[in-house]
């Protein structure tokens, strides 16, 4: 019983995000003209899973008290790369998928390597590498276009057993294959340790550098999975800077709504998934309630700003003003 109490306490942010999502989703479905059909659910989850994946990616650097401003660009790069490589037969398509994922991981690894060994700040590093990744995407797809292996795409964006949206299953699989093992690995825990207190982590013998490298590499991989899913949805690639920027920004908001601390050491990628779902549902709610689409970007911006401002609660606890500057 005691264990349960602690687990609830540890996951307060996650539970709040899940609760918020459920409430919003119920409102959404009950006001939807058609109601909850498999088609409605599939459309909703296909969109939501994209942001959920990018938000998972963003979570890892944030846990180490860093930030990855290039996740959106890696997402777009994977999209463009997939629109070139994931074509032909199913076999060729699968090979293409593997290359896209490898490229994403490589992009993340480069970020991590520059931050760890080059000792540059995460913001400036990922801002600059983001430009490079965007440039590569633009090189691959100067204009929107391309194609994708339609069997794989249809499968990934359809339904399993004609009920369950495949995208959700893919997301679940990624949670089970990537996040859960990571969370329970030595290096995964080291990421939390580094974010919690880098000095103490070093003193305790935690592998600080490897933890950061892995966090950024996995961030690249997860963003690339998101980019693949985008390609399956749109059947094309587009090097769009606004889309990349929006995803980067929303990923940070999703991370915060999901209960992860921007100051590192605390949170989970599961929370970020629900944070992403919340953001997506807000968008859908605006739609079903017929809010003038013109208001939507503003509304989303305000939600975002409000979400990140939650971090200010920390200031209230500080009693020695010198700690404000730490």
């Amino acid at each position: 019983m005691n264990d349960l109490r602690h687990r609830i306490h540890h996951n307060g942010g996650l539970l709040a995000a899940i609760g918020l999502f459920i409430v919003m989703f119920i409102i959404y479905v009950s006001n939807h003209p058609v109601g909850l059909t498999a088609a409605v659910a599939t459309t909703a989850s296909n969109k939501a899973v994209l942001l959920a994946l990018v938000a998972m990616a963003q979570t890892l650097p944030v846990l180490t008290r860093g930030l990855d401003l290039s996740v959106g660009m890696v997402f777009i790069l994977a999209n463009c790369l997939a629109s070139v490589l994931v074509v032909g037969t199913i076999g060729e398509g699968l090979l293409g998928i593997a290359i896209v994922l490898g490229a994403g991981a490589l992009a993340g690894f480069i970020n991590g390597a520059i931050i760890v060994w080059g000792r540059l700040q995460p913001i400036i590093t990922t801002l600059a590498t983001g430009a490079v990744y965007y440039g590569i995407a633009l090189y691959l797809r100067p204009g929107p276009g391309g194609d994708v292996q339609s069997d794989i795409a249809d499968f990934a964006t359809g339904q399993l057993f004609e009920v369950v949206p495949t995208a959700l299953v893919v997301l679940l699989a990624i949670v089970l294959i990537v996040w859960v093992p990571y969370r329970n690995s030595v290096l995964g825990r080291a990421a939390y340790a580094v974010g919690s207190n880098e000095q103490a982590a070093y003193m305790s013998g935690v592998p600080v550098q490897r933890a950061k490298l892995l966090a950024y590499t996995l961030a690249g991989l997860l963003a690339a999975i998101g980019g693949l899913m985008l390609t399956f949805n749109t059947y094309s690639g587009e090097a769009s800077a606004p889309i990349a920027g929006t995803y980067t920004l929303n990923s940070i908001a999703a991370v915060v709504i999901g209960g992860t601390s921007l100051f590192g050491g605390w949170g989970s990628a599961i929370g970020s998934i629900f944070g992403a779902f919340v953001l997506r549902t807000i968008e859908d709610l605006l739609f079903v309630f017929d809010l003038d689409p013109l208001w939507q970007p503003l509304f989303q911006g305000v939600v975002l700003l409000a979400a990140v401002s939650l971090g200010a609660l920390r200031v209230l606890r500080i009693r020695n003003r010198l700690e404000l500057f730490a």
């Binding site: 930030l67 401003l69 520059i114 080059g118 000792r119 540059l120 700040q121 913001i123 400036i124 590093t125 801002l127 600059a128 590498t129 983001g130 430009a131 490079v132 965007y134 440039g135 590569i136 995407a137 633009l138 090189y139 100067p142 000095q199 070093y202 090097a239 800077a241 606004p242 920027g245 920004l249 940070i252 908001a253 921007l262 003038d292 013109l294 208001w295 939507q296 970007p297 503003l298 509304f299 989303q300 911006g301 305000v302 975002l304 700003l305 979400a307 990140v308 401002s309 971090g311 200010a312 920390r314 200031v315 003003r321 010198l322 404000l324 500057f325 730490a326």
Partner: protein, 328 residues
């Protein structure tokens, strides 16, 4: 923990390193011009140089504001839509109020940018939120406002004559007005940074906010003012850009974020704050503009430009931006 084995920066070398970055930046400019001259004699003609300086001016004004924020150890990622905001509000006001509007256009545009800066500053100073995240959110809010503004009110989007004149006119010895404005903005920035108490406090906050606070500096006020200046500068550049291209349009500020930050950092200003001078920023701005120009002349597509940007910035930072990281 000062006794620990974690790497300690070699502080006595800092002044030297700083000068070195200036030298590198200016050498790169000369190399680029010479390299360009091999490609085409045009590169050394006064007309080409003046034109480059005119284009530099917009970036230069934005970078002046960005530098203030970077000097205090923060970053302003709301620059893109603040630029657009300045442009759109200026043209809109001109449309709404006719003759009076033409007079009000430029001040209102700049003021709107300053307001965004004020909000940024309040969030960073009082809520103590990381500036990169708060300003990123503010960027989204301003973007939302502008979408609403253009879609909902169908405002005037073409620049006033005055804006056009300021951006492209050349009444004095054929020197572009935009360049003259940058000279004025630059002179004011240099005065502010080197000759005033405020400038001194900016460097102090950027170096060690705790020490500045204990010395009686109102660090929150310094932070807020720097963001206000950054917002105002970005919006003013937006006003001029609207004049330059004769109209304001969505996302017109997006291509300026990375170049502005890069120009400041390449000019030797420490991304963690506290060190840097405006001469370096001038060098950085010209460097970036030349880089863009050469890539354009070589008919390098946008893709290549982005890649070369990113790589050049990273390479230069890795070359001389290291070793200071553990200072904070």
């Amino acid at each position: 923990m000062s006794e620990s084995k974690l790497p300690v920066s070699t502080i006595p070398a800092l002044r030297f390193a700083f000068d070195r970055s200036l030298i590198i930046a200016f050498s790169c400019i000369i190399l680029m011009l010479l390299g360009g001259a091999l490609y085409s004699r045009e590169f050394l003609s006064p007309e080409y140089l003046l034109q480059q300086l005119q284009i530099s001016a917009f970036l230069g004004i934005i970078a002046s504001g960005a530098m203030m924020v970077i000097l205090i150890g923060h970053i302003d990622l709301s620059i893109p839509w603040t630029v657009t905001l300045g442009a759109m509000m200026a043209t809109a006001v001109a449309g709404w109020f006719g003759e009076t509007g033409n007079l009000l256009a430029i001040p209102v545009g700049v003021l709107c940018g300053a307001m965004v800066g004020l909000l940024n500053g309040l969030g960073v100073a009082y809520l103590r939120l990381p500036s990169m995240i708060f300003t990123l959110g503010m960027n989204a809010v301003v973007q939302g406002l502008m979408v609403l503004h253009t879609g909902g009110f169908a405002p005037q989007d073409h620049a006033t004559d005055a804006m056009h004149f300021l951006a492209v006119g050349r009444p004095v010895f054929g020197i572009p007005n935009a360049l003259l404005i940058w000279v004025v903005v630059g002179a004011l920035t240099i005065f502010l940074l080197t000759r005033t108490a405020f400038g001194r406090r900016v460097y102090a906050v950027g170096n060690r906010e705790a020490a500045a606070y204990l010395s009686g500096v109102n660090t929150n006020a310094v932070i807020i003012w720097c963001f206000v200046l950054s917002g105002a500068a970005a919006a003013f550049a937006g006003v001029l850009l609207a004049g330059y291209s004769t109209k304001a349009y969505q996302a017109m500020g997006d291509p300026y974020l990375l170049p502005a930050i890069a120009a400041v950092v390449l000019g030797g200003t420490n991304i963690l704050g506290g060190r840097g001078n405006y001469l370096g920023t001038i060098a950085g701005v010209i460097l970036i503009t030349l880089l863009q120009s050469i890539l354009a002349v070589m008919q390098m597509p946008e893709a290549g430009r982005q890649i070369i940007y990113g790589v050049v910035i990273l390479a230069m930072l890795l070359a001389y931006g290291r070793g200071d990281i553990d200072r904070k």
